[in-house]
Every structure is written in C-alpha cells, then in structure tokens.
Assembly symmetry: C2
Homo-oligomer: 554 residues x 2
C-alpha cells in the first residue's frame, strides 16, 4: 500500500464524486452559522472576536484529517467558551494579551491531553460522567451563559459572580437599560426564535441568524447607532490569517491550567462523541472513541498553533451539517476555506455588528441546550439520579463550572456507593416443578426446613457487609431450626477484602453454633479468587454450582 | 417497671456477686496500664500530662452508663491523640492554655457528633471506611507516632513536618543525642519488649510498664538526673480532681474543628466497635453499634466537661481488661475511681518521671498497631485493596492524618467504581440435563442457534455501559445468524438512568437490524422500576422469569 493514498484519511482516499454536492452545500451553510457564533463565543470566552475566527479554520482541517465522524462540526462552542472564561478570569484581565496567551495555552494543554488519552486508549475516562451529570452540567452552563449575556442584550453594565449575584446585579442595573440596544438585542432574540419556530429545519431557518446579523449591522452602520445612542459594536477586527507559532507556556501557568484543561477536554469529548454517535447511528456509520480523541486533540493543537482557544464538536452546527447533506469531513474543509476567505478579506464587515446581536445569537443557541426532558425522565425513573442532575446544575450556577461538575461527579459516585450499601436481599425458595428459585415474599415457592437460602443482590463489599450480617442474624433469631445458611451469590460479582474478612468471621461464628455456611452460584471470577483464601479452603465442599444442588443436598 | 433499677444500666441492675472479683482485678490491672499511657498520650497530643489523667475518669463512668460492650476500656488512645495534635497544631501553640481549650472543644464536638449519630442511628456512616483503609491508617499513624517519639527517646530536639522531614531532621540531630536520656529511653524500650516477649499475657507482663516507670522515676530522682545530665522530666503535675465546667467555643474555632472532630469520631468509633465486637464474640455477647455511638459520645462529652480531650476505646487496654477477667463495665468504674485517687493524692510521684520513658511506652504500644499481616492478606487476595492500604499509610506519613484518611476513602471508592466499570461478562449456555446456565468458555454447555445469551455480572450503570455495548457488537459481528440478544440480568441489581438510556438506544438499533432484545432473570426491584419506562413498555413480552424459559422460547 505504498501509494500516495496511504497517508490520506480513508474518507478522502475513497472520495466519490456524488458526495461532493452535499459536502459543498453543508460546508457553506455551516459557515453562515459559524461566522456569528465564532465571534460571539470568543466574546463569551473573554477574547477578541478574531480569536473565534482563528479557532474556526485550522482546527476544522485537523479534525478532518484524524477524526472518525463524517459529520461532526468542530470549532468554538458555548460551554467550552464559558469554561475558558471561568478558567482564565482568575489569572488575567479579559481582553489583555496575557489572557489571550493563556487561552492558547489552555488549547495546547487540552490538545496534548486529548492526544495522550487517544494514544493510551483512555477514552473510557469519559465514562466517569453519567448522563444526568452531563445533562445537569450543560443545562446549568446554558442558564449561566444566558444570564451572563442578558447585560449585553440590554446594554447595561452589571457585575459578575455566580448566577444569583449576576441576577441581582442585573436587576439593580435595569434602570440603566439603553433603549436602542435593548430593542436591537431583544428584537434579534425574537426574530431568531420566530425564525426557528416557523421555518424550522428549512434552509431559510438556517440562514436566519446571518440575516439578523446583516440587518442589524446595516442599520447600526447607517444610523451610526454606536455614536448617536451608544450601541456597543464589535469595532475593528484585524484582517488577515492568523500567524502560526507557539510560545511554550511557563510552569506556573501550565500547572494552574491543568485541571481546567482536563475538564474542558473531558466535557468536550463526551459531548462530541455523543453528538457524533447519534448522527452516525442514523446512517449506520461507526464512531471510534479513540480516533475521536485524536481528532479533537489535533483540532485543539491546531487551534493553539493559530492563536485560537479550546474547540470541540458543537451540537447545533453538527446537526445542521448533517441535515444539510454533509457526507464526509470535506464539508468541514469547505467551511475552513470559507472562514479563511472571511478572515482575509471581509473582517471590515463586522465593524458595526452590535454586541447585542451576538448576545442574542448566544442566548438562542444555548437555550436549546437546556434539557428539562432529561430531568423529567430521571425524576420519574430514579430520584437519586435526578438529584445528581439538579445538584450539578445548581453547582454550576452557584459555585461555577468546575466546582459544579466536580460536585456532580462526586455525587454520582456517592449515589452509587450509597445504593450498593443498602442491598436488596431475598430469602428464596424453589418455584414448584422447576429448578428455579425466587423470593419467598414475591412468589409461590417451596422452602426446606433447616435451610436458610439468602440471595444478596449486590457485590459484597465494605459498605454493605454489616447489613448482610444483620439480615442473617435476624433470620436466625426468627427461626431456631436453621442448620444451614446458604448464601446465593448469583448477584455477587465481587467480594472485596473487607467482605472476605467479615464472611470468614461469620463462618467461624456460625460453626460455633453448629450452623454450616454454604455458598451457591458463585461466579467463576469470584470463585477463582476465593479458592486460595483460608475461607475458601474451609468452604471447599460447601460451594454448590446451583442453588438447586444446594437445595437437594443436606 | 417503675423501680429504681429502671434507670440503671442493664449490667448494673442485674449485677451478680460472682462477677465482682474479675471486675476488681481487671479494673486494677487496667489502671496500672492506664497511668503511664494517659500521661504519655497527653504529651503526644501536645497537652499537659494531667489532661491525660482527667480524660481517664469521667469518660469511663459515662461509657459504663451508656455503652453496650462489657469489656471495652475507654480513655486516651494513641491514634486519637495524634489526630488531636494534628488538628490543633495549626491553630495554637502546643502547651498553651488556648491549645488545651481547643482540645476540650474537640472532645465536645466529637461527643455531640457521636451522640447525634447514635440518636439518628447513623452508625452505618462508619462503613465508609473499608478494612484496608482503616488498617493502612492505623499502621501509618503508628509509624508516624513512633518516628515522632524518637527524639524524646534520644533527648534531642528535632523538627516536625511529615514523616520524611522528621526523619531527616532526626538524623541531623543524632550527634546531639544525650547519652543518659538515650540509655533510659532505649533501655525502657528494651525492657518493655523483653517483658512482652518473655512474660506475654501473664500478670507480670502487664505490670512491666509500671515497673519500668517506677524504676526509671526512682533512678532519676535519686541521682537528680534532670539537673545533672539534663534528662527531661514530667515535672509538676497539678494535684486534685478536674474542675467541672464548659466554656462554649466560638464560631470560628467550631468551624475549624468540625472536620477533624468528624474524622476522630468516625475513626474512634470504627476502632472501638471492631475491638468490642471481637471481644464480645468470644463470649457470645452482642454489641449494638448505635448504643456504642451513645456510649462513646457521652464519654467524650464527659471528657470535655472535665477538661480532657477526645477519648475512645483502646485496643490494647480492652484486650488486657478482657483477659484480666472483666465481666461488666464495673471494671471501668473501678479504674475511674483508682485514677481519681491517683489524681487527688499521688501526682507528686510523677515529678521525676522521664519523658524518655513515656516515649518508650508510646513506641512499644503503637508498634503493635502496625499490621503487616493485613497488608499481606490483602496483597494476596486483592491487589487493589492492598494498594488502597499502602496509599492510605503513605498519605498519613507524607500528607498527615486527615489527608491520609481522605485519600484512602477516595481511593477505595475509586477502586469500587473502576472495578464495576470493567464487568465480567459471559456468553452462557445450558448445562445438559438441567435448567442451569453457565459460561460457554468454562463449562460443557448447550447453546441454541440464533440466540446470543449474555450474562453481565455487574450492575448496569454509566461507567460500564460502553463495554456492554462493545461486547454485544463484537458478538454480533462474529455471528451473523443471531436473531435474539438475551441479556441475563441475574447479576444486575441496579440499572441507572444512563444505562436505561443506552439500553433503550440499543433496543431500537437492534430492532432496525431485525434482532430482538430480550431480558431474563430481571430481579424484582429492578423490574419494578423498569416496568413503567418506555423501554419497559416495549419489552413487555420479552422479559422472561428464567434463562431457561427464554432458552426454550423462540
């Protein structure tokens, strides 16, 4: 295979002409969405608008070269922009050159981490984030972003802080609302919502944001609204492609940005993969998580090389890309090329673009990320998961993005342990005429005198052994005739060291009372480890393959 | 039951004369151990020696009134003393009145927490600490204590810090070793070790520490070694019983001491209960964990009321109490009375007691807490638990007691999730002639064409669903004839929201390929929650009671 195509991505080596129209159309439409979004998200991240454009060229090419999704649209996204701002604001003043340099460092670290995870095949790390935690995080972030943009929509200057502090400050600043700015901002929101409601997935709906941008910019320029009534505008956006290069960051800032970079990487990866996966499934394509890590890692490195900031796969743009007909990452290449043209020649057009319109773009985009359906479903199915979702969202709103997601992860792990510490246990008997055993309280079953058959529906580990012991003690106290305690281990997938010690004590204590401890349905891997322990030796002839064998034995 | 005995503890109301000799002997012998230990542990905690004596009177009475163990010996212990020092040293200078007041506050908070846990029946909180973590914590603490006492054994003044810093500082200070102090200290260690080796559990062995104390004190007094060669001595110990009273602590110190008080309470409770339980089992007595919380809580409140510091049940003294014949908590009452006599009249005898002898008492006592056996067993049975043990010990030595135990807890929870994220899965078939199903790779079993029966031996939750999906995809790729995927849920005790979502997607995807997803052996509690979900509705007729039913169905 020493042909030139060996070094090309598979989609390019096998490119078919009939894929071209879809890719071209999708690339164009995504660009039309990407222009206002990249400017807006850069402002959300506390960066000059051109940085958003920089982050929308090379990263798309890098992902096209290494990623595994045919339709994921990579670039600046709302949540990663919020996390960037949250990570950098304690370290430098937003808008300063140091701040922009730190943003580059953040993209660099994030890229290196993703690449390392990909090479080490650590994609499973992302599984530490449960769906409710991710959903709570995204919803909380979307609300926080929307609240933070309200001041731009109204043209007031209100303070920062957590969501509550921002809201209070916003309400206090309401009397200073600038009428024209508010008219533009709220008008843009109304127009965007209306366009989405009435036009939906049709082409015109996708072009609406650009139309709003063009109209508002033209009106602002025509009436010189920036000078006459103080509408804040984007102003001068430096023209020209980004200079390539990289200054290696110092130790102290690297250290300070490691944790935020890790969180941005993980959250971005999880979001990207889930979007990519759901789109791929609709066309029976496959996503390779480890390839996605490489693709996103390369995209972030490319962003760092070209003066950008952390990027990842965006939800809305990917869906648009897919439904506009993208077949291969060539659509992303088309977008990158068009963005390069914009940056080289058309930045002057953004001069009179009002901040309020960008804020409107952000608010409408993030509003769709608020996922009350997930909350409703979790609440119905599993209250603890719903609480983890709410706690994560509340954590993001009140404590910030990083503390919020950490609280969510800790909580979801805590829920796991708490549940496993209160195992379901059932005294079981034989379903008549079968070799099947079920809970004596739920089914009509036969029991055998002198035999206590207890099924523990959980791994045996430090947090639940006391309850298992109590349950056995209670059953023995209730029935003095018991001579055999049969522990049915069909639900036991692990026995940890603590549980082994407790079981060992239990066996000795029961033996003193003339009661035999027996085991049944011990799974292969559990038995493999149990066999060589002193307890395993003592129980050698008291471990039965099936509950039925133990039931008919004496 | 409106008799006077109603208000007495059960052991007292039903006291029998034949219990008296054992209780009197044990009370006396424990007192002989308790005198040097209480002085030594107070010094270890950074407190004046009399505080150790104060903590050895009322707490014993309070525990006798409320505790449930017949033989637990309560009072100052090594690990709680170390934890007290570690909690207070950042807040005040050791030996200062503020420091002693903070120690009282720590006992007060610990007592209130334990009482509250007891009243709320939160004894299960202690189960968050797995045996390996506790073992690692105790071993690490014992080493840290022994290293810290080395300077007193040698009469040098070396610096503090973590274990490594203390060792380095100690080695640097070695040239300053005071020969007479070192002779007394190391001689005392040798004598105590020798006594234990040769006399073991005999009465003379238990009296050896007191004999060493008496001899060393007499020699120091006779030759006035404190003045002639600078042997550090205990000096003036104020005579008289402690004044009762309590100054309520301020908010800021309460807040600062909450976390340490919680850790001291939990660790002390876990240690006490495990000692009490193992002693009770030898005589077929019962320990009630919630009563233990009340007993230990009252003991700490009593300690706070009488100017003491945190107390709990001690391992070595309880074993001595038991083997010396204690039958009821009257033995503790006897000890308390004797300690009161000592404090009222005999404190002058401690004037010439050398610090080096107290240090020797501590070192020999904690040396027995080092539990290499637990490490060996864990290493053999479960490498991850052994690593949690080592990490906890290393954390205590390098980061301090609080960070060490938190690291251990975090690690043991992490191990739990990590294991559950890599579930054992087995394709199963029928053991011929039975209705029993086992792993096709481990047993000679029958399979059915078109049926993929997969048993997942773990709860289905966010961290392991990707692996389950991958396993099914791999099996389907390997066998194109599969028409039914049967998920055998005998090992599934919980399905969380994330897993529900993934299963739902999986079902839809399989359906598109003409493959039916079926479930078998879904446990009652899991089915109860699954039934009302959209997935549960779709699977209504595809959930089988037993694997066998699913096997014979089509």
């Amino acid at each position: 295979m020493n042909t030139p195509t060996r070094w090309l991505p598979a989609w390019l080596a096998g490119y078919r002409r009939e894929q071209l129209p879809g890719d071209l159309t999708a690339g164009l439409i995504v660009t039309v969405m990407l222009i206002p979004q990249s400017l807006a998200y850069a402002l959300l991240a506390g960066l000059p608008p051109e940085v958003g454009l920089y982050a929308s060229i090379l990263p798309l090419l890098a992902y096209a070269a290494l990623g595994s999704s045919m339709t994921l649209a990579v670039g600046p996204v709302a949540v990663a922009s919020l996390m960037t701002a949250s990570a950098l604001q304690p370290l430098a003043a937003a808008g300063s050159p140091e701040y922009a340099a730190l943003a580059v460092t953040l993209a660099l670290l994030s890229g290196l981490m993703l690449l390392a995870f990909g090479l080490l095949r650590l994609g499973f790390l992302a599984h530490l984030l449960s769906h409710p935690v991710i959903s709570g995080f995204i919803t909380g972030s979307a609300l926080l972003i929307a609240i933070g943009q309200a001041r731009h929509l109204l043209g007031v200057s209100s303070g920062g802080g957590n969501a509550v502090e921002q809201l209070i400050s916003l309400v206090r600043a309401l009397p200073d609302t600038r009428p024209v700015t508010a008219a533009i901002g709220l008008g843009a929101v109304a127009a965007l919502v209306l366009a989405r409601r009435t036009l939906g997935q049709r082409l015109a709906g996708k072009l609406a944001p650009m139309a709003v941008v063009v109209l508002a910019t033209a009106a602002t320029a025509f009436w010189q609204l920036d000078r006459s009534v103080g509408v804040r505008i984007v102003g001068e956006v430096p023209a020209g492609l980004p200079a390539l290069g990289l200054t290696l960051p110092g130790w102290s800032e690297t250290l300070a940005l490691l944790a935020p970079a890790l969180l941005i990487s993980l959250v971005g990866f999880v979001e990207s993969v889930s979007v990519a996966q759901s789109l791929a499934l609709r066309r029976r394509e496959r996503i390779q998580p480890d390839r996605e890590l490489l693709g996103l890692g390369a995209a972030n490195l490319a962003s760092a090389l070209s003066g950008g900031y952390p990027v990842t796969g965006g939800f809305a743009r990917s869906v648009v890309n897919f439904s506009a007909g993208a077949r291969t990452p060539l659509a992303g290449v088309v977008s990158a090329a068009l963005m390069a043209v914009v940056l080289a020649a058309l930045t002057g057009w953004f001069h009179y673009l009002p901040h309020a319109v960008l804020a409107a773009t952000i608010v409408v985009a993030v509003w769709n990320l608020i996922d009350l359906q997930a909350l409703r479903e979790a609440w119905h199915y599993d209250r603890a998961d719903a609480l983890a979702l709410l706690a994560t969202a509340a954590g993001v709103l009140l404590l910030g993005v990083e503390a919020g997601i950490l609280a969510g992860v800790a909580l979801s792990l805590g829920v796991l342990v708490w549940r496993a510490s209160r195992p379901h246990m059932a005294v079981i008997g034989r379903v008549p005429g079968t070799e099947h055993f079920r809970n004596v309280e739920r089914h009509q079953v036969e029991t055998r005198p002198g035999l206590l058959a207890l099924r523990v529906d959980e791994n045996l580990f430090f947090a639940n052994m006391p309850r298992v012991e109590e349950r056995i003690a209670a059953a023995l106290a209730a029935d003095a005739s018991v001579q055999r305690v049969l522990l049915v281990c069909s639900g036991v997938n692990q026995i940890d060291t603590t549980a082994l010690g407790v079981l060992s004590d239990l066996e000795a204590r029961l033996a003193e009372q003339g009661i035999r401890l027996q085991l049944a349905e011990v799974k292969g891997p559990v038995m493999d480890r149990l066999r060589d322990t002193p307890l395993g030796q003592r129980l050698r002839n008291r471990v039965f393959l099936s509950t039925h064998e133990a039931f008919v034995a004496t």
